[in-house]
Amino acid sequence: MSARSKTLALHVGVILALLLLHFVLPTYHHGNLARIMVLSVYAMGFNLVFGYTGLLSLGHALFFAAGMYGSGLTIAHLGFGAEAAFLAGVVSAFIISAIVGALALRTAGVALMIVTLMFAQAGWYTILYFGEYTRGDEGFVIQRPDRVFWGIDLSDASNRYLVALLLFAATLIITLKFVESRFGRVLVAIRENEERARMLGYDIFRYKLGAVILSGTISGLAGASYGLLFGYVGATFATVQYSILPLLWVLLGGAGTVLGPLVGTAFMTYLIDKSSEYTAAYMIVAGVVLVLLTLFARQGIMGEVRRRFLPWLP
């Protein structure tokens, strides 16, 4: 088999396996996996910038929250239907990532991390400041009748899983296509050697901006669907923690691998889930994993798999 057909078989296989799990999983894990799939969409969005372009953003929660609040607020205050609200969420994330990208990409390295962090903090404070509409930390619930998308009731567990799977599959395929495209290859070239890419005549800024916008829009899509699928919009999703989590998922799963975000998100979600049974200080797991990953396993799980067993893995 050629590398291409192997890749295709593997990714279609993963999607089919997730579909199969829909019929066999007990309720608790079924619900968990739906959440993991939506969050891996977020992680895949983050991976485009961090894994493939080599830019560390510490402010992706801003894009996730833009999607979530863009859809949640239009439902709550403008009477939008779920379809229009979803679109509003994605468009808000698109606009915000374009603005943040255009400004933040004027910096590089450490400054870029701090700038993205500061923009995301400003976004979080803005949500708190307009507590009259956003209900601040407490957040608000999207009522069941508002969560009907094209006649599909998203509050139903079975529908929710299938819609999450659809989103996940679509993002997986888009990422796969993107990575193999000319654009994606230029991004990897920038990651590997920015000066050389510049010397070859690529407009680095334009490519990076494209990556940030695509990544931010996918993150916003994940945020908008999270709100609609689980019916809750809250300021927690705009905090630094939600900028750190995708970093953790992607690092653990393997930065710059297409399947890494899913693996990392699933692994970390269950790890945190298990440890929260024993202690209120469950985030210690996140801390320990971050330190150990930087010390001993910078490739992450799928990165190691690629290095040892499957060199063709995208």
Binding site: R106, G109, M113, M118, Y125, I284, G287, V288, T294
Partner: protein, 308 residues
Amino acid sequence: MEFGPHLLLAILEGAVQAAVLTLTAVGLSLVFGVMRVVNVAHGEFYMLGAVLAWCVTSTLGGHPAIGFVAALIIAPLMVGLIAAAADIFILKRLEYEPKNTIVATIGMLYVIQQVTLIAYGPEARPVQAPFNQRISLPWFEFGDAGFALTWPWGFGTTTYKLAVIVAAVVVLIGLWNLMARSRLGLIMRATQLDREMAQAFGMPVEKVNAMVFGLGAALAALAGVLIVPIQQAHYLMGAEPLLLSFIVVIIGGLGSLAGTVLAAVVIGLSDGVISVFFSPTLAKILSTLFVALILVFRPQGLFGKRDL
């Protein structure tokens, strides 16, 4: 209270905040300047200082001053040692590569914070100040009887708050002497200017790194000890000073100690004053945006000369 006394009170409160903020931010700036490390866990060292101060004072008992003086020595020392160990066992092995270092310090942030949650618990606990006399301040008025001194109700400060300001100034002068006059400071500055050349001249660059990281953390811890009689010790208290220190260090120009001190005083004061008259959340929105835009358009900071 009228506007005049109110403003003066806000400035006094701001000065206390500025004093503590200066110590914390100088620690962060020192670490960045010499090691080029952005330490996201810096706020947790501040928190550890406050929490350890509670541990020391509650174990020792007796007159509050005894426990407090002990805490002033023990807490920064312990935090400094913890940080130096973190440098040797984690950061050094990462060879200070920026992206990995920042990820590792994020991890350290969670580890320190959550271990504190396990060991110390989620409660906020007070530490008694060693001395705490109220001082009422006079205010002048031009009334019908001409110029007169009045003593508006609630207009005053405490001796402890004034002592915090004095202590911060003393520590800063000490630090300045260390950096400018001592051999150790010379080595640190040499490392900051040109790490490779310093190493080539046989300077113990690795030891300097561990020492600087420890010293930076100890300064944050000292700030934590100083603030804890005014604010209670809590395992999440590190987030706010971290953000403020970042703002200060960036506006002051990264790695420039003088710029950092100046920016800390300005920001600490204005933060105190602004949050008395405006919504603190709005102030935070504006200051975070301001910092982001400074980094975008003037990365050397308002006072600094160096690029990030």
